[in-house]
Symmetry: C2
Subunit: 122 residues, 2 copies
């Protein structure tokens, strides 16, 4: 997969690649939760709400792997682990904002379309 020359056809692949990476149930919510600054594990858990510790662990690990969040361990008692966004993570969260705006703007419209669509075909 070399990315050297990139005609328009390729970017649909690129987007869906990113989307399937970032479009899971929790990734973006965690990123957004970290926008305000570094947080600790259970802090994020509280902030996101509804996420299991299992999934939070997984999500954070893959985010760390991708260099989107940074993990800092503080060996104290009790142990503290801080998570924060890297520059890459912040740039992602900025991009996510555009999506958020789009979502906020068109959510009602979509909702209406669905209702209309469902109304006519039982």
């Amino acid at each position: 997969m070399d990315v050297t020359a990139k005609p328009a056809g390729t970017d649909c692949r690129a987007v869906s690649e990113i989307l399937s990476r970032v479009g899971d149930k929790w990734t973006i919510q965690v990123v957004v939760a970290l926008r305000s600054g570094s947080q600790r594990f259970n802090g994020i858990k509280r902030k996101v709400g509804g996420i299991s510790q299992q999934m939070l662990t997984r999500t954070l690990k893959t985010l760390e792997r991708d260099g989107i969040v940074e993990r800092t361990v503080r060996h104290s008692t009790p142990p503290q682990v801080e998570y924060s966004l890297t520059p890459l993570g912040h740039s992602l969260s900025e991009t996510a904002r555009h999506l958020a705006d789009w979502a906020a703007t068109h959510r009602g419209e979509i909702e209406d379309n669905r209702l209309r669509y469902d109304a006519r075909e039982p």
Copy 2:
């Protein structure tokens, strides 16, 4: 819409809602395939590449339901069905472009991060 006061908590929900709607394997690829103009079923299938007939049908149907694509049937022999983006669909594809840009820009970086991460812990 009311973007006046937006407490950080709300938009993360909105984004992930949109993402889980749009972040599946095919939706965006189909939308992108339709950007250049209206296409017929098998045209889209060819253009996307790798999608099964089943999934294309499903994807197009939910996109139609959401008012993102429009379906036009032409009763001829052989029958022709044309799909095209609605204005809402175009606005989505514009937003997707931002994501595409981000993806193109940072893909290599992410790739590197992964390699580095995987390299140190077997």
